[in-house]
């Protein structure tokens, strides 16, 4: 149900409201104390209620309207496939003071990167202006930003896992870094194809981006390291789990690692370090954070191979996209950073 708010200060629109991340944005904004959702767009479900597509939002009193008729709002969130936002950025900026884009369209710094990793860019002049949404690495530039690029889900998991090792000079960027990622089916968006039907997609461990995943570009941009990246689809709906295998040049102890992780994340409201211990849950796991904006990071030492294994886990729909976007908007607008993102997740929980 809609949380009562006397204090809604900002109006918001979601472009791509029928999609998976669009649905999450609607859910978060609907319950956010500082936002009022005034528009959700769809081309395919125009005039249908939001609840028609997102059964958890049946109480929300809103119908999809065309993306051609944008309302004037404080913040516009775009949750459209790659390429759409760069085509419509002018319309988006006309309609809203702040634009938060969930696609890859404004994540990279230079046109050259888009030429290398994507199919170029139609408005590279905006790239400099855009701020990467992940507050853990870019908080200081988000305040007042008016074009925000929400990070890639797999990139977010990887960056959060490895960052402390760079901060603490355990890694310099010259090392071999293997990133082996496991993701859920919501990462593919609502579209899907043959491979994402339930009979074909259930119970799998499927190499779906064996090499050359575009998120390598973001990771390199922020960590300064080129990673060997492989993504597997596994049987869950939400969740991205990255296992980074790294080989520091100098020996490192568990104490060093703890110091590094606490150094980077002690004050972060949405990052939790989990590394060992007892019980069932000893390392980061996507289902521990499903539905939440938390990232779990952790590590284990493999002295015989001079290896550090770094684990990180997020909900791709939250910390990996919609949650990160709202978090960044909170920072940009100067409202309480954790507003609307307090859900702790569930236990037990199956394969959310």
């Amino acid at each position: 149900m809609k949380r009562e708010t006397t204090e809604s200060e900002y109006t918001a629109a979601v472009v791509g409201g029928t999609g998976f991340t669009g649905g999450e944005l609607l859910r978060l904004l609907y319950q956010h104390p500082n936002f009022d959702v005034v528009q959700a767009t769809s081309r395919s479900k125009e005039r249908k209620t939001v609840g028609h597509v997102h059964p958890n939002l049946r109480e929300m009193d809103l119908r999809f309207t065309s993306p051609e008729d944008l309302e004037s709002v404080d913040v516009l969130f775009a949750a459209t496939p790659h390429g759409v936002s760069m085509e419509h950025i002018d319309a988006f900026q006309d309609a809203a003071d702040t634009v938060v884009d969930l696609s890859a369209d404004f994540r990279l710094n230079t046109e050259a990167q888009y030429d290398e990793w994507y199919d170029g860019h139609v408005c590279p002049e905006y790239l400099e202006q855009a701020e990467y949404a992940l507050p853990e690495i870019n908080r200081e530039n988000l305040a007042g930003a008016d074009l925000i690029a929400s990070g890639g889900c797999n990139a977010t998991a990887t960056i959060l896992g490895l960052k402390p090792l760079f901060d603490a000079d355990v890694l310099s960027g010259d090392e071999q870094v293997v990133v082996d990622v496991k993701v859920g089916s919501s990462e593919g968006g609502a579209g899907g194809g043959d491979a994402s039907s339930h009979p074909e997609r259930s119970g799998i461990v499927r190499p779906y981006a064996p090499t050359g995943h575009r998120h390598e570009a973001e990771i390199e941009q922020f960590l300064g390291v080129s990673v060997s990246f492989t993504v597997h689809a596994v049987d869950m709906v939400r969740g991205a789990s990255a296992t980074c295998h790294v080989f520091p040049e100098s020996p490192v102890s568990k104490g060093d690692l703890w110091k590094a992780y606490r150094g980077t994340y002690a004050d972060e409201p949405f990052v939790r370090t989990v590394a060992g211990g007892g019980g069932v849950y000893r390392y980061p796991e996507p289902k521990s954070v499903a539905g939440t904006n938390m990232a779990e990071v952790g590590f284990e030492l493999d002295p015989s191979n001079r290896r550090v294994v770094v684990f990180s886990a997020i909900d791709n729909m939250m910390k990996g996209s919609a949650g990160q976007a709202v978090h960044a908007a909170n920072v940009a607008l100067g409202v309480e950073e954790t507003a609307g993102l307090e859900f702790t997740g569930l236990h037990p929980v199956g394969a959310p």
Partner: protein
């Protein structure tokens, strides 16, 4: 509520709260990290990382 005392988490350097009557050899977990710590002395309480658990679980 039961008396509590604080001790430094040897892994993270942070203060953690423990039951007032912990004993030497007791294994406690760190709230922030979940890690298991062993009480190696009391008065004041000092903690060390608990000895390795079995290599894996559920196998």
């Amino acid at each position: 509520m039961a008396d509590t005392i604080t001790a430094e988490d040897p892994l993270t350097g942070e203060e953690i709260e423990l039951p007032g009557d912990v004993e030497v050899g007791e294994i406690v977990d760190s709230p922030a990290t979940g890690a298991e710590l062993e009480v190696v002395s009391v008065d004041p309480v000092t903690l060390e990382e608990a000895p390795e658990l079995e290599e894996d679980w559920g196998e």
